[in-house]
């Protein structure tokens, strides 16, 4: 019994170490000078440079002009991640609400059309999407970054399944309480979906934050660069014959990981709270 437990824990620890080790290597190395890293490779122990590389990563722009500092890119990524997640949740909830609660002609057909967009991820439709966005004059804008990615079959599906579990009597009680369709949605369904929204937000924020291909296509102005693009830019100075500042690049990678981690931790708490309160 006890031995089994030890064994379980050993496996867990192996997993934890396996996952965290690369992150630790990056962090430890980011506190060394570029020279040390080039000469001696990745470092296992923190070095003497402290958080200097982080300050550089945040305030100066590497591989670009002065606009795309780490801070600016982080803010861009936040706008992208939040806009992406919030937009997807809003659109998906509206679509799911319509599909579940309104008798619309061909509802099933519409659902399958939405669902079939899963077969058409951005990578497949990137050329037409680019064309549309560029003709709308939305290149180099937050709208252009977020809008084309905002429709989500997955989120619609999840919300649809969730709405179907909401007891029908709640709708009927609301009808008797003189709530119209809009009020029922805002006053009843949205609050009930809190945990679902938190879960979706976690997933969608991370997906939005990690977008790489679309922002690269979309942005030529550095003011709209995202941090995921920035990491690559730090390293791409190799092409110009310069030595990349590895410590800064590593610092930037660590920085780029923090917001998604924060979102997961923050929303997970809501998520679990929602489950524990058992509001059903």
């Amino acid at each position: 019994m006890r031995q089994e437990k030890l064994f379980d824990h050993a496996i867990l620890w192996v997993g934890v170490v396996f996952l965290l080790f690369p992150v630790w290597l990056l962090f430890a190395s980011s506190t060394h000078t570029t020279e040390t890293i080039i000469k001696e490779g990745l470092q296992f122990l923190p070095g003497g440079e402290g958080f200097g590389a982080y300050a550089t990563a945040l305030t100066s722009s590497i591989g670009g002009t002065e606009i795309a500092t780490g801070l600016r890119m982080t803010i861009n990524s936040l706008i992208m991640g939040i806009g992406f997640a919030v937009g997807k949740i809003v659109i998906a909830m509206c679509a799911a609400y319509t599909l579940v609660y309104f008798r619309i002609p061909m509802a099933n057909f519409l659902f399958w059309i939405i669902f079939s967009t899963l077969l058409l991820p951005l990578e497949v439709r990137i050329v037409p999407s680019y064309e549309v966005v560029s003709q709308l004059g939305l290149l180099n804008s937050y709208t252009g970054l977020i809008l084309p990615l905002i429709a989500s079959a997955t989120a619609t599906f999840y919300f649809q399944q969730f709405f179907k579990t909401v007891p029908e009597e709640l709708l009927e009680a609301a009808q008797l309480d003189n709530a119209n369709a809009f009020k029922f949605f805002i006053d009843i369904l949205v609050p009930l979906s809190k945990t679902m929204m938190a879960a979706m937000f976690i997933i969608m924020f991370v997906v939005g934050w990690n977008q790489y291909l679309w922002p690269i296509m979309m942005t030529t102005e550095e003011a709209y660069y995202t941090i995921v693009m920035g990491i690559k830019n730090v390293l791409s100075v190799v092409r110009e014959g310069r030595i990349p500042e590895y410590n800064v690049a590593f610092a930037m990678i660590i920085l780029a990981m923090l917001p998604p981690v924060a979102v997961v931790i923050l929303f997970q708490r809501w998520f679990i709270q929602g489950l524990v309160e058992s509001e059903k």
């Binding site: 009927e172 009680a173 009808q175 008797l176 309480d177 003189n178 609050p191 009930l192 809190k194 509001e279």
Partner: protein, 357 residues
């Protein structure tokens, strides 16, 4: 002037199932009407049609002087208590009760006054800031009542509101609902499949079967003068005994094993040789030694209820139950039954309709 009137209401569901086959009802101001019947007989459909949660296929529904069957639920001036309460889980008790008032544009002060008054009446004052999830079943039930009460509607509708409660709480809430309804004087329609609940609550009972009304009457009327075999079997526990029999002349019945029983003269209601059911309530029959009574009875099993005993057996090869206040175990299983000839029920064998007065 009736408070609620249903005129030949028919409801056919989209799948072609006819759940209401022409229901007509007239309910008086302040009356407590109970719809009772087996599961699936169309009680909920009837109630939901009155509420406007289902559209009706044909017929008319009037509340007070107004025809309402085309109006949306919120415009019908009714309130409904659901079986699972349907409280808004994310709102406090206060907001649950206040929501309908807010949506009708009452001022905050008005709402507070009404909600507090209802909460006081229902002993919920201490729980106003709690959420439904933090309340017991009985308290949730009261909140659902409160939500219905605050609007002071013309009509309360209840759809099996007690069936999610445990037995003792059900008795308590049953009394409480009756007490509230009496003190508020609001016309109410209450749906249940539980005949005891129906009998105890109702001013008048409506017994439904397969989308049709079998009988309407006070609890006493429907119990003592059931108009059909369905009503006779549905009300009372154990159910009324029904013995197939053939009339001999106008004042004798011949059971299927050949026994003859004298009954009061039925005069013109029946014909010689007519096939009938003889109905006898278990509590209206008593036991004597073999040969001394009117019908031969073979005892099989007895059940102790405390105050009384049930004795199950057979008369003329048909199951027959007795409810006796006093019964001691006997050696023999052959007995004889006596009963008051005034307390018999006669139904036509084919139509199931009552034939005696």
């Amino acid at each position: 002037m009736g408070a609620l009137k249903l005129d030949n209401v028919v409801k056919t569901y989209a799948n072609g199932h006819q759940a209401m086959k022409g229901i007509s009802l007239d309910i008086n101001e302040g009356e407590f009407l109970v719809l009772v019947g087996p599961s699936g007989c169309g009680k909920s459909t009837t109630l939901r049609s009155i509420a406007g949660l289902e559209s009706i296929t044909s017929g008319e529904i009037h509340i007070a002087d107004e025809r309402v069957d085309e109006l949306p639920p919120a415009k019908r001036d009714i309130a409904m208590v659901f079986q699972n309460y349907a409280l808004y889980p994310h709102m406090t008790v206060y907001n649950n009760m206040a929501y309908g008032l807010k949506n009708r544009g009452y001022s905050a002060a008005d709402i507070a006054e009404k909600v507090n008054a209802a909460a006081k009446m229902l002993e919920l004052t201490d729980y106003l800031q709690r959420k439904p999830g933090q309340l017991s079943g009985g308290q949730r039930q009261r909140v659902a009542m409160g939500r219905a009460m605050v609007r002071q509607p013309k009509l309360f509708l209840f759809d099996e509101p007690l069936s999610n409660l445990d037995a003792s709480l059900r008795l308590q809430m049953r009394l409480e609902i009756k007490r509230l309804q009496r003190s508020l004087g609001t016309t109410s329609v209450f749906v249940t499949h539980d005949q005891v609940e129906a009998m105890t609550l109702a001013d008048r009972l409506v017994i439904m079967n397969k989308g049709e009304i079998e009988q309407v009457g006070t609890p006493k009327e429907v119990y003592h003068k059931p108009q059909t075999t369905f009503v006779a079997k549905f009300l009372g526990s154990p159910a009324m005994n029904l013995l197939p029999a053939t009339l001999v002349g106008k004042n004798q019945l011949k059971l299927d094993d050949g026994q003859l029983i004298a009954i009061p003269d039925q005069e013109d209601a029946v014909q010689d040789g007519q096939r009938l059911y003889l109905g006898l309530r278990p509590e209206n029959v008593s036991l004597t030694n073999e040969g001394n009574g009117l019908i031969n009875f073979v005892a099989k099993v007895s059940e102790e209820l405390g105050a009384t005993q049930l004795l199950h057996g057979e008369v003329a090869n048909t199951p027959f139950s007795l409810n006796l206040s006093q019964f001691d175990q006997h050696e023999t299983e052959h007995f004889s039954l006596t009963f008051d000839p005034q307390q018999i029920h006669l139904f036509d064998y084919e139509t199931g309709e009552r034939v005696n007065a």
